[in-house]
Subunit: 427 residues, 2 copies
């Protein structure tokens, strides 16, 4: 039985013809059938026969001839092992309450956002986003002519009262927003982690207003807890906590995960999980666009993940590394930036969000100063859902090593001095 | 200096904000700058350190530590070697006359079609396509609400006179089609190869009507010349002949190539070439969707292609294999299908297009008969730009080996017998 919520479909999604190949697939995968319908070069001409990958931890994994043959075929023939692993993983981690929830593969989360935004909203529609959010998400919405209505953030993430107020304000204009797009953990760019209690609050508001929730959660595994003074062990996989998927009784959540922020972006592989209606919708559109990503990556990832304990060890190492680097940047920022900026040590993600205590520079002024001082940060105008030229904050990623982080903060201190001196001259 | 033609942009393309990162990229790639703007895990946590791939021809290629580091980063850091190789390759093969022509990478041609169709036409617009064409292309157009106007094919491909007549008919309705989408070589599904003289004719008509040309040419390297009784050598890379890109003086052509039909689909890598306006447009949209494909595939392909003579040897092997299998299917079809179908031996591609000489079955009838006889072919209703339930033809791919092709043709003969007997009963 499926959950009762039915997402609003865009005209693009409603107009997609049923996949004609659905009728052929049972025949094409039946070994007794002579299949003359495929459009792929003879497998005898495929260039690769096997491979061995040396891993950073000193071990290795191989793709044998049979797996390498699948790695060279279309993704539908390569995804089975990885999708099965992910299904078990999602079941353990999120225990989704939604009936019939499913998982499918994705060619990275940006591709998934492109597909889902177009499938769930039309030109002229409005949707809700955090007041600061992922730049590419804002660009996708802008190009599709979908209005991004900002919801306020506090130091813990999305504010339920602001979400409710914006829905009410839109309703007063006669508008029904199509979905909430949110980055709940290691929020990009502010680094917050949504408190457990807010999930239910936000979910209830979305239920009341009939909203789908697109949960973009690439930093979920990056919960390093650098803000935790107790210096306890990192969460690993066992203590990652809630997600919208984990509270989704109605089937209104579609969740995006990505190996890009856990292992490496070069695989270009993520996964989409949630209510069957969303996963079917995603699959239908991936078939005519991204094709779900690279088969070679899928086969390699499934072999990496098949090693007992390997994934958890990688996640712990990532969390420990990010914790140490976050604290190093915080120390360097305290030393070199002092009272000129405000920030909170983030519990998750890769970013420190620094707000200028003095007059904010313009984007142009900030970039000119970055050139002069040899330091590059992300201006808050890039992440603002409301068009602005003023940069009240900057996003600093702490993925460099300690010495580099110290030098970067030193240069940034000089940059802020100059920006403030200019602001002083101007006033 | 750029070529003078300016493509019509869809509202989606016109509404895409300028990429904010353009201002940051020079800083981010300057080694003297302290870069705190990246959003990628620390490279020390990347899982892979090197790899060795054994090839089907008995040789091997490796990715050393430096290249494996790039293979794990975002595609912008991984594409350089491959893009340079492709630029030299396209220059040699097509000698594009268009000023400033460029090449960029793509996550497979279906993804490229999805991007380009959306960037070049709006809901309600009309475009021109061959009367039988790639099923996914028709589905992308349908979902985007773009009307696909069919242009007639003959045994050599697109008919210039039909293109001109359709443009005139649309003009009489007050409509300006946005582009011609065409598969000139190894046409899918009919297998024809556009005669050299028609390129200039079609190009002149497109110029007269102000049309862009989307040249989807994945079978360009599959010119096996199975129709050539002389039994000469296959064309290799030296005698592949014309393309629209090779005659594009105005900058109205955007060309799609794909490793999927040359090496293997599992890489999920193709390339887009053409006028700078198209390549810039493509890049801007890839940034917010496909991200150009998988970095690991890019690094591996660049190592494969760097081997002197390797690519040409693969292309020749592919052409020889396809020639032999095409002739095997033609022999089997003559033996087992006899006078019940008509076909021409195709000069390129993977498909034999068989037209029923008797009453055409419906799609449902054909699929039921396929199940009964244990054979699977592509019904022409799947490829028809005009909605129809009647299957006048079927597309047979000849990628199986000879014995399988004979058995498949035998079963197909039984299927046609049954379909014709039923049609006889019904009349």
């Amino acid at each position: 039985m499926e959950a009762p919520f039915t997402p609003h479909l865009s005209r693009r999604a409603a107009g997609l013809p049923p996949n004609a190949f659905t009728d052929l697939l049972p025949l094409m995968s039946d070994p007794t059938v002579a299949v003359l319908s495929q459009g792929v070069p003879p497998s005898s001409t495929f260039p690769l026969s096997s491979a061995t990958f040396c891993l950073s931890d000193g071990s290795s994994v191989s793709l044998d001839a049979a797996r390498m043959a699948l790695a060279q075929r279309y993704p539908q023939f390569a995804w089975e092992e990885l999708r099965d692993w992910l299904h078990r993983h999602v079941a353990t981690l999120h225990r989704p309450p939604c009936a019939g929830w499913a998982v499918c593969l994705a060619a990275g989360s940006t591709s998934s956002l492109h597909i889902l935004f177009s499938a769930l909203a039309d030109r002229g529609d409005c949707v809700l986003v955090e007041e600061h959010t992922f730049t590419a998400a804002l660009d996708i919405l802008a190009s599709a002519g979908i209005r991004a209505v900002p919801v306020a953030l506090d130091e813990h993430g999305l504010l339920p009262a602001s979400l409710d107020a914006q829905c009410a304000a839109l309703a007063a204009e006669g508008l029904s927003p199509r979905f909430l797009y949110t980055i709940p953990v290691g929020q990009n760019p502010t680094g917050s982690r949504l408190p457990e209690a807010r999930y239910a609050e936000v979910y209830a508001i979305c239920r009341a207003w009939g909203l789908s929730i697109i949960e973009d959660d690439p930093y979920f595994y990056q919960q390093h807890r650098a803000d935790d003074d107790g210096d306890g062990e990192v969460p690993g996989l066992a203590r990652l906590g809630k997600s919208y998927l984990s509270v989704d009784e109605d089937g209104r959540v579609v969740r995006l995960d990505s190996f890009s922020k856990i292992l490496a972006p070069g695989f270009r592989i993520g996964w989409v999980s949630g209510a069957p209606a969303f996963v079917r919708l995603y699959d239908a559109h991936a078939f005519i666009s991204s094709q779900w990503g690279c088969s070679l990556s899928m086969m390699l990832l499934s072999q990496l993940l098949a090693q007992e304990g390997w994934f958890e060890a990688r996640v712990r190492e990532l969390q420990r590394t990010l914790r140490a680097r976050c604290r190093a940047l915080v120390r360097a920022a305290r030393e070199h930036l002092g009272e000129r900026v405000s920030f909170r040590t983030p519990p998750a993600g890769m970013f420190l969000w620094c707000t200028f205590n003095g007059t904010p520079p313009s984007t142009r002024e900030l970039i000119a100063a970055m050139r002069q001082h040899g330091v590059c940060v992300l201006p808050s105008s890039f992440t603002s859902a409301t068009k602005t030229d003023s940069c009240a904050s900057v996003r600093l990623s702490f993925v460099l090593d300690d010495a580099q982080l110290d030098e970067a903060a030193l240069r940034l201190g000089q940059l802020v001095d100059q920006v403030e001196a200019r602001a002083g001259d101007a006033s």
